[in-house]
Symmetry: C2
Subunit: 229 residues, 2 copies
């Protein structure tokens, strides 16, 4: 644990600043990873890995949002929306399994690809990196535990509100900009059911809808609303 210097550099290929898993990492580790990564622009709607295929590297999201989903019978279940700073695909590599999910960009994205052997090398070579990844995995695991319970026990309306609030945080100042179908997939319900409840929320004045764009106006009241209707 010699070099503890914190780094705040930009990706050599796409010029965006490192964030997420890259923060608080010794500079030598960052250098090692960035030397072998290729950063590219992925157009909105690009699939960059598929459920069932073998991973040959990991992806780091420099910029943009992507959906992580599983194909069910018929509709797809969206596991989560990942955004800048997140690392994707490391689990499948470490568990030595096929991708359990697919990934597709929701908007134009900058994604860095790091080949499998480089990633594994960095992992073995750097305790700091290894710890970081481990912590990340545990955090995700805790998160998913909560999602599972929520999914199993809350009504659709409560889940919609919950998702709405999460997305609102994720989009920050911008309005939520997602296909209804995707949002429904995230909630785990039928598209029509989602739309119907959104209409009610709009009527009540807690959200604003402009085309596909949604803006949460009253975060406090919206929660109570979910329990009543």
């Amino acid at each position: 644990m010699a070099d503890k210097k914190i780094v705040q550099t930009a990706c050599p290929t796409c010029k965006t600043v490192y964030s997420g898993i890259y923060t608080e990492l010794p500079s030598q580790d960052v250098d090692m990873l960035s030397a072998h990564q290729s950063c590219e622009l992925y157009k909105k709607g690009s699939s960059f890995f598929h459920e069932g295929s073998r991973p040959n590297g990991i992806f780091f999201i420099h910029k943009g949002k992507v959906k992580i989903y599983k194909h069910g019978d018929g509709r797809e279940q969206i596991i989560k929306i990942a955004k800048e700073g997140e690392l994707l695909g490391y689990r499948a590599i470490l568990a030595d399994e096929q991708f359990p999910v697919s990934a597709k960009t929701l908007e134009d994205c900058h994604l860095c690809f790091i080949p499998k052997h480089i990633f594994l090398e960095a992992l073995l070579g750097s305790p700091a990196f290894s710890q970081k990844i481990l912590k990340e995995a545990c955090r995700e695991l805790d998160l998913m535990t909560g999602v599972l319970t929520h999914m199993a026990q809350k009504t659709v309306h409560e889940r919609i509100v919950h998702t709405l609030l999460e997305l609102s945080d994720m989009y920050g100042e911008n309005p939520i900009n997602l296909k209804r179908e995707d949002m429904a997939g995230l909630v785990g319900t039928a598209t029509e059911t989602l739309i119907r409840f959104l209409s009610q929320l709009k009527e009540a004045g807690w959200i604003e809808i402009q085309g596909r764009k949604i803006r949460v106006v009253n975060k406090v009241e919206i929660k109570k609303f979910a329990k009543i209707y």
Copy 2:
């Protein structure tokens, strides 16, 4: 509802029988861990950690089955049934968070407790152990992804059959021995719904029921059955 910890002596077999996370680990790591662990008998029904509390160590299941669950409003959601060889509580420590779940023994169990600082020491000191834990976390993560999708997309009947088959594997030659309420919590449905479908499966001759005990007789047919009824 009081915890019923009994015996205080170190488990005699702990140092000789390695399973689960302990396998394929350098002997020095195993020695290091087992030197500081205390193995105790926990009576059926003992709670040994609680949602929301801070972990001060991890538990290794030497023998027996425990349920890992979350309190919802009203009924509890069972995240999983853990059995011998599994390590519990490491995620909360590594993610540096409170326990996201509670744990209770389903039968008399031998549990080894390893203090937090010993665990962290072992982790930092042994790349092999660290890798092992990381891999375990990733495996669990993949698993939970599948559970989530299943939960969101399959009908209750399909989920019941799925759970039944998993439990059947877990119990091996023995009949499944779980409260209906717990099984329902695992499936994520109402107890009555579970019972009703179990009755149908019994009528059809695919399972046998003796009191609370359930034995799966025909694993193949049972799956088709789930889709029809």
